[in-house]
Every structure is written in structure tokens, then in C-alpha cells.
Symmetry: C2
Subunit: 341 residues, 2 copies
């Protein structure tokens, strides 16, 4: 990918998100109300700290997945409330993992705002994360479905495994592509998969259809993460709410690095080992890293892979009859892949 | 309490634990096997890190509560396996909170061994804690009782609230006794209560009997924590696996401090504020703190309070017919109160 195509990718594409957002706007308001209601605690710091992160918002892609999947699967979203409760559950689990991630990564900026650990310190971030995780399970118990509880407790275990696996591949440029895919499947795609899957469960669809929703969510999640990792070497700061090069500075091993390293000369490999393994970085290193990635087409390849997973996501829900929800879910795939803005 | 009675309290009393341990020895072996089985993960660091803590062992008081309560309540412990699964669940939740506690408190020693965070760092400790918490819910889902899931998800939320509350009272010697009791009820007694309660649930006892087991566990937990907090100013190091004065050095506010502060002169209060609020400590401060506690009978009062909760625990299970399990549970009360060795 040349610098020109890199810039061409950097166009806003929120339009692709808008149809879905409009379709579930009322549901999402119910989700937001429920989240605020269930953040409540006599311990004032809990709603304060968790509220900071929840209010910062982001695009609520995960709960949107639950709401859209439930609608696609024919759940009565006007009279029913299960999809709302489970979308809030998914957001609680996601928020808990973000709180812990930011502690683990020692991050100070997320979505353009200071992280909770930067404001309140690591200690309450760890504990409020635990609280949110427990709250998520309380919501599921209220919902009363053991199938949902199984899906989301399994997902939670796999997410934690993915995070530990990521820790262990950190700073190792010899990480293989398979290993990298395992890590992002665990830490990101698993919750996307579960979020979509439970939408099918509340609609009481057949196992094969619930499995199709799971595949859709998982493929979308992998595509989402691949694009995220590529954007860390190409996006403008204002979009990500984090600086370009964050992953580089942290010595994080992502697909663009894996690809550039694999195809690199001995000298280039020495560069990657110095900057990412020993995390000995000098001025100009980030620019050189990006140049090496461009030379080996590593960013382009990452975007191409993402597009492939997007295709898999689209194919997974092919069997569902056309509907506004289905269109929105197809648009969501475009959004995840094209949000290179 | 004089120094002499303080030393008199310091006699081993593990005998009080032995009847219970013998009674559930086979069950506990099954619990240990299940724990090891379910710690397994393709991510090697997970069983390694969690295994370190689980192997360090401690007295397994919480899973023992589940096993004894199930037996007391008439569950078929030979043919059934639910009590074993739920005892392992309780231990997983406990271990998860220990991992996170040690990160939050920056502890380096637990049960006489280096803490996981001291060996592997904070990052994997946070994430493996999350993994264990998720595993606990997976075990409950396998058990299949929504009642158990409700008890332990509620307990998990209250524990996290208690931990955050403790963080907020940290270093504040103006903390009231009520506030202190709220904190230890949340962070310690709630899991004791839930552990005993689920024993009654698997035996399908009437709600009033399950509630009695909950009260037993809660009272025992409060007594246990009160004694723990008093021992931090009086026990010999080898017993606790931590140094006398750990709480003091951390500026932790426990009942002995609250009592000594409340009854202290203006000059004494300045001492407490310097040492615990500003955590400005000099040689001889710990000895002076202990002397002030003795002067105001603060340690004695704490042990007396513990005995009162012990009485409440005994009374709670009065209605159950005599049995070996009941005797062991009464002995367990003695153990928690008299383990001032």
C-alpha cells in the first residue's frame, strides 16, 4: 500500500453505522438507562468510575450486535426486554475488560479521554472491573437462561485466556500469524461472537441459526481487530482517540509487525528486535517502522485479511431473510472494515 | 488486654479444625482434584500462576464450609457431586479475589510465600484472577442451579463493593465502627455466608434453614476477620505467614485502630493521623501503636466482639439435629475465634 492509498482509506465512514444505530435507537436508549440504573451502588466511587468509561461511550458496537441479532432473528423487540438486558450485560463485560486492560497496559488515554486508572489509579480500576463483571452475571441470572449464562461465562474465560496469551506474545516479533489470530480471536472476537449469539438465543432460533450468528460475530470481531491494529500505524489521532504508534511504543506484536518481520532482511529484523523486543526506541523509529510495513505491503495485507473475515461474516447470515436488521448487519461489516478514517 | 493474656491467646488451636477436616477429607480431595483439572488451560501461565496460590493452600475454610453445610443439611455427599463442584467454585472466587487483593494492596507475602504479583507481576495476576472468576461461573453453569448462580453472583458484587469501600476508608482513622463492619461484612463475610448457604441449597432444604446457614457463615466470617485484624497487632509472624504490623504499615484501618483512635487523647490522635493517614512512620511506632491499643483495651474488645459473632454463628445452626457435621461446624467457630496462636 502506498502512502496515497493509505490516505484514501482515511475517510470517515460512519454512514455505514447509521442505519443500524437508527434501527436500534430506542432499544439502545433502554440499554443506556439500564446500564446507569445497574451501575448504582452505595459506594459512590463505583458509579463515578464506571460511569466515566460508559459515558465516554465509544460506538457501542457489542451491545448493538445483540440488539441487531435479536431483531434479525425475529425477537419481539418492542414487547420483550431480554435483548436489552443482555445487551447491557455484554457492555458490562466489555467495560470490565477495558478497565482491566488499561491497568495491564498502563494506558492513559482511551477514546480521547483520560483512562479511569489515569484518573483514579489502578486499584479502584481493578475492583470496579470486578464489580461490573459480577453485575453482568447478576443481569444474566435475572434473565434466567442457562444457555446465555453458558455462552457468556465461556466467553469470559476465553477472553481472559486471550489477554494472558497476548501478554506472553508481547515483545516477541517471532510470534506467528496463527498465534496472533488466536490472541485476537480470544481477546476481541469471542465477545463479538457471544454478543451476536445471545441475540439468536432470546429469539429461540434453531441451533444452526444461533451458530450462524456466532460465526458472524466472530468474523466481524477478527476483522474489527485487524483493522484496529493496522490503523495504529496509519490513522489520524483524532479518530482513534489514541496516538498513532501506541502499539509500537508498547512493543505490541500485531499482524502488520508479524508480516513485516517475516519478510524483513536480517538488518530489518534487528530493527524490529531492538524497537519491540528490547523496546529501545529512538526518534524516527516509528516512521521507519511504517516505511518497512509499506515496503512489504504489511498494512495492505492486514486490511485485505480483514476484508476476508468481513466476507465470512456476510456469508454467515446469508440464510436469514432480507430485513432492515440484516441490511444494518451487512453495513456493520462495511463499517468495521472501512472505518480506516 | 495485658501482654500476658495476649501471649496466652497465642497457643495453637488447629485441633479445633481437625474434626471438620477429617469429616470432609475425601470430599476435599475431590475438590482439590477438580480445582487442578479446571485450572487447566492451553495458556501455560494460567495453571502455573493460579496453581502457585491454590497449592499454597491455606486452610480451605471456605470450601470446607460448603462441604460441611451440605453434609449438615443432609445432602448425599457420597453419591452426589454438587457440593464438591460448588466448593471448588467458592475456592475459585476466593482465589480470584486474593490475586486482585494482592495487586491492589501491593502485597509481596501471603501464607509465608511470595505472592503471585511479586513473582509474575501485576498484569498476569489481574488477568488470571479474571480467568478464575469466569471459571467459577462456568462451574456453576454446569451445576445448573439458578439459585446458586444468584447467591454467588450477588456475593461477588458485594465483595467487590466491600473492597472498593475498604479502599475509600483506607488511611482514615475517623472511620466509624459501623463503616468498618460494613467493609468486612462485604469483603470477607459475604463469601463465608454464600459458601455455607449453597451447601443448604444442594440439599434442597427449606428457605429458613438455608437462611440459617447463611447467617452462620456470615457471623463466622465477621468473627474470622475481626480476629485476623487483631492478630495483625499481636500474632507471631510464623502463624499468619505475614509480618505483625502489615496493616499498620499499610495504613489500613481496622477495629483495633478505630477503638484506640476513638478513645485516644488529642496527642494520641495526632499519632494515629501521622502514622496511618500520612503514613509517616518511624522506628518504634508499631510498638507504640500496640501499647496504645493495650491501654484502651482495643485488642481485647476486638476479640470480645469476635466471640459475640461466634455466638451468633453457633445459635444460627442450633435448630439442626446433632451430627458429626454440626459438631465440626461448632468447632470451626472455636477455631476462628481461638486461632490467636
Amino acid at each position: 500500500m502506498t502512502a496515497a492509498t493509505s490516505i484514501a482509506r482515511e475517510r470517515p465512514d460512519d454512514a455505514k453505522l447509521r442505519a443500524g444505530q437508527a434501527l436500534v435507537a430506542l432499544d439502545m436508549e433502554r440499554v443506556n438507562r439500564l446500564i446507569i440504573e445497574r451501575l448504582d451502588s452505595p459506594i459512590a466511587l463505583i458509579p463515578q468510575l464506571a460511569g466515566h468509561l460508559v459515558a465516554a461511550g465509544g460506538k457501542r458496537v457489542r451491545p448493538m450486535l445483540t440488539l441487531l441479532a435479536a431483531r434479525l432473528a425475529g425477537y419481539d423487540c418492542e414487547r420483550g426486554a431480554r435483548h436489552v438486558k443482555l445487551a447491557a450485560t455484554v457492555e458490562f463485560i466489555h467495560t470490565a475488560t477495558l478497565l482491566h486492560d488499561d491497568v495491564v497496559d498502563d494506558s492513559h488515554l482511551r477514546r480521547g479521554l483520560q483512562t479511569a486508572n489515569a484518573i483514579w489509579g489502578n486499584k479502584p480500576s481493578v475492583l470496579v472491573g470486578d464489580f461490573l463483571f459480577a453485575r453482568a452475571f447478576q443481569l444474566m441470572v435475572e434473565d434466567g437462561s442457562l444457555e446465555v449464562l453458558a455462552i457468556l461465562s465461556n466467553a469470559s474465560a476465553v477472553i481472559a485466556e486471550g489477554e494472558v496469551a497476548q501478554l506472553m506474545t508481547a515483545n516477541d516479533p517471532e510470534t506467528t500469524e496463527d498465534r496472533y489470530l488466536e490472541v485476537i480471536t480470544g481477546k476481541t472476537a469471542t465477545l463479538f461472537a457471544a454478543a451476536a449469539q445471545v441475540g439468536g438465543v432470546v429469539a429461540e432460533r434453531a441451533p444452526a441459526e444461533i451458530e450462524a450468528l456466532r460465526t458472524y460475530g466472530e468474523s466481524l470481531g477478527i476483522a474489527f481487530q485487524l483493522v484496529d491494529d493496522a490503523l495504529d500505524y496509519s490513522a489520524r489521532e483524532v479518530v482513534l482517540g489514541k496516538s498513532v504508534g501506541d502499539d509500537f511504543r508498547d512493543g505490541k506484536i500485531t499482524l502488520p509487525v508479524v508480516r513485516a518481520y517475516q519478510q524483513g532482511t536480517a538488518e530489518e529484523r534487528r530493527f524490529w528486535r531492538r524497537t519491540l523486543e528490547q523496546v529501545e526506541q529512538r526518534e524516527g523509529d516509528l516512521a521507519h517502522a511504517i516505511a518497512l510495513m509499506e515496503r512489504h505491503g504489511a498494512l495492505n495485507e492486514t486490511f485485505t485479511r480483514a476484508a476476508g473475515y468481513g466476507e465470512r461474516a456476510r456469508a454467515a447470515i446469508e440464510g436469514f431473510a432480507p430485513s432492515a436488521a440484516k441490511s444494518a448487519m451487512l453495513d456493520l461489516v462495511d463499517f468495521c472494515i472501512e472505518r480506516a478514517h
